[in-house]
Symmetry: D2
Subunit: 310 residues, 4 copies
């Protein structure tokens, strides 16, 4: 039976592939998409989610906008990576389908309530929405099977030397979700920086030959170009779909059980994800932290999902 | 025309008097009560709100529970002041009326939407609910006339040397509301410590002679006893109704326009409310900060309101 | 037998009166003066110490310059209070006497080593020198009877809402000295703001009729003028000599034993002195904190000392 | 002409090899050794410096003890790596030579004053001594050619997930030295973790055949054993001599010019060295940061130096 899943995201080039993987992979039953301010303003990330689901022929998945801005800090969209509209590169067709009238919080609540079994949440943006859900509906947490988050790093960051963008954008939200007791998996840059959109990868996706793949190739060309300029990486790392892949194919991503703490108070390191891989701090492990990935299997999984779309 | 008002509170002895003042004063149109974890656990503060409205004959005011715990930090109920159930002293009658099925956030939203004019929010607990409303419904902020908060201090605190309990409990929430652009008034310990439940005050309330007043006297006896033990103040300061009084009788509480910043990162001073009364920091003023009160007029106002209740 | 004393200071108008009180009061045996960057740059505070000792006929007291800047933070001289040269107002005569060739640390060490009994250190500036001495000569700490510091506050500050200038300038130094185990007394704004240079006080000093007094009156005119502009206090508080008075006349300043912690990490409150007067934090008391003063006795003491000078 | 050098260290197994490299390499003129509390208490690190210089036949190099403890924080010796006496493994011969009677600060000052040309400081422990020298003798900084520090990391740490031991032990000292304007080079774990005491390395040193080498082999056996237990690295990284090698053989260690900031305020990341390798923060570069090393050339250099000793 496919795994019921809510995808909370801020599309964003790599979020788009996460949506497509969640919708196209038969192991996943994508029940809802919620959006958050992150890579771009909420208006853009919500619009982009509508665009890329419609373009890929994904139907029956409601999309609700969530938080415009992080809990405590100011939003700084990642324009140097994702462009002004959070989805630079291709011309965006005007989507016919509207967003769901419910808020993200309401959509998550209703989706959980409507499910016979606990639902997995994959989050590929700042954790603002999930944190607010945790505080607003603590009685519903038992209906969430786990939270799988693309964010953080066991090593260096990308937006500051030690912080990854999603974590840096809303570290307080990450701390809330982590502290909620929900089963929590972190997939950080230490793993996603292995998933690079090489020439071969882009060619492989292009060879799929459908509308979704063609749009995806345009996204990757833009993404690789900005990653080269901004991060010195001519082959951009496709972070977000890794979180979906971990759910879809157990074993594809390797994790270790470890203590994870979010730095909330540093002046240089706010949002750093402190992962005690050596167990030196003497604190209870509280997260599964990704440490490895079968890169080839990942790309095959993603290609197959895109092939199943429009 | 009476001022439409939502009271967000954590009863708590002094919150009770805030409820009664808001319900009994003809200048106020109390539209909704929302509760938050603070002086006690949410289950207690919600229960207490039900008890003291029913006991006082207050009808037609929905009561909805909000956040169980602060946004980022852990809740430590003020048991040394308010007792195990947040309302130590009198025997609490079992209330017949239930809480509203909506969450606090939903009740605030519906109350704002149903009002022809902007609604004032008086908050007499940690600002968790209001902060979540700000992040969930930024489009509704124009329907809020102002936020008047009992919390903080321009001088010393009460729970730590420099932090007042409401601010210390959820400083991030206070920072969110303060940063939202909503007109914001802070009524801190520097003013509320002038509003002491002296022997004469207690006698005056007792002389009102109705059920509400009798219950109020029992509350004050308990409150004065714990304040003596915990804070060395044998006459407890009745903080919360001051915030309602400021709305009900313009001029009764004096304020100055000043810069207010909430300390989020100190190890000794988290939750301290830094009020730049001398304007030395060169930052834009962002709050009205209470600096004085007509104590005699306050007690008269409160007595009159209690007299109007059951 | 007079109390052997080292005065560590940053003159500064009020430091001058501390020097004069320490030199002119027969209960004190002023052995050394060390200077620090604070109210002004080290070059100014050292020069000023030379000026005001020579002018007052104080001989045989070596003066050594210490730290130019705080340990970790940048120095911001208090020019709005003390003027460009840290001693605005009177024309400064060029002193004949040179500073001692030893550093402040060396002078403190030698003074301690030369004393048959433990020596009291009164510090009336940032605690940078004393902190460095603590770290450089931990084996000499038993030769220090106590450290009496003018700095901090149990309530509001003066340079930021919650921090006093000396503490704000070098909070890490204050934490080092406080953590050294040396007996530590803090005399903060809560007390020194009672010691105001009123018209009567200035007239009384003027009436002494010697050169030192005349110079002192000029200092106070300048000091009162800048305090009015900068702090809204037309009668400036003469902070620093209170620390000397506490040593010279036991009982003149009242203290309580309490827990004192220095805020090192706050963004709004760095340097705040958190004094747990209610004993709510459950930590071991570590300081004597001034809470009261006999103001009349203080001024008499100071006048008498000035009368004894040139 | 050999490069005049002061070595400030906390021996510690790897510090010993730094001493030997500095003393045995003809490109270096080792003028003074100063010790600091770090890997062990000051009494141990000073004793160990005496032991290993005498054992290696190093004469004419004064050794002075400096700071017992970090500036602001408490010392936690690295006993799990270096043992109870900071030099676990070999039996330590009782040294005949005494420490110099001067403090470390005095010895550094005198060494600088006695040198016709600026002197390089290599620091292989917490920067406490150098920070105090900076604050005590700002007029002498022009006599220091550069500070080369083994400490920090561009990636993960060793004592906490993001902090290296020397930096974590005294982050404030690191910030002081970094902010002093002295030319500053950081050699962090990202490089020193490439310098592993493999079986071949240990055998190579053993084959030298003199007393120093034999003692060194004993040190490495202990070091490798504790590194395996504590850090999961069966071949311990010989951090400290890399800093000497950088001075002795320009080009052996590769560096980049970058912005370096020390985290002073984080709760999880205090002491983390934030190195802006991508230049994203828009701050002025302030350090040379090691990014690579010729490992083979390093071991040859070290072997040659040990061969030159007793
Ligand atoms: Ca994303
Ligand atoms: Ca309350
Ligand atoms: Ca002073
Ligand atoms: Ca070392």
């Amino acid at each position: 039976m496919p795994i019921p899943l809510i995808l909370d995201c801020d599309p964003g080039h790599d979020d788009v592939f996460a949506i497509w993987l969640a919708a196209g992979d038969p192991a996943i039953d994508l029940r809802a998409i919620t959006t958050v301010g992150g890579n771009g303003r909420l208006s853009h990330t919500t619009y982009n989610a509508r665009v890329v689901t419609e373009l890929a022929g994904i139907t029956g998945v409601p999309i609700s906008p969530g938080a415009e801005s992080p809990l405590v800090r100011l939003l700084t969209p990642a324009e140097s990576i994702h462009g002004d509209n959070a989805l630079g590169g291709p011309r965006l067709p005007v989507p016919a389908r509207e967003a769901d009238p419910r808020t993200a919080i309401e959509l998550i609540r209703d989706t959980l309530d409507a499910s016979a079994e606990p639902v997995t949440i994959v989050a590929t943006g700042p954790l603002t929405n999930i944190a607010m859900f945790v505080r607003l509906h603590p009685d519903r947490l038992s209906r969430i099977r786990q939270v799988v988050w693309m964010g953080g790093s066991t090593g260096r960051g990308n937006i500051t030397p030690y912080a990854e963008f999603n974590s840096w954008t809303d570290p307080e939200a990450a701390a809330i979700v982590l502290g909620s007791g929900l089963p929590f998996t972190m997939i950080g840059l230490n793993v996603t920086h292995q998933v690079l959109a090489t020439r071969e990868v882009v060619a492989g996706i292009g060879a799929i030959g459908n509308r979704t793949a063609a749009f995806g190739v345009e996204l990757l060309h833009f993404f690789n170009a900005t990653y080269e300029t901004d991060q010195g990486m001519p082959e951009g790392p496709l972070h977000d779909p890794v979180a979906v892949a971990l759910v879809a194919r157990p074993g594809l991503v390797t994790t270790v059980r470890a203590r994870l703490d979010i730095e909330l108070h540093g002046t240089e390191t706010a949002g750093a994800t402190s992962v005690d891989l050596l167990g030196k701090l003497g604190r209870e492990p509280n997260a599964d932290v990704a440490t490895g990935i079968d890169v080839e299997a990942f790309w095959k999984l993603l290609e197959k999902a895109i092939r199943a779309l429009a």
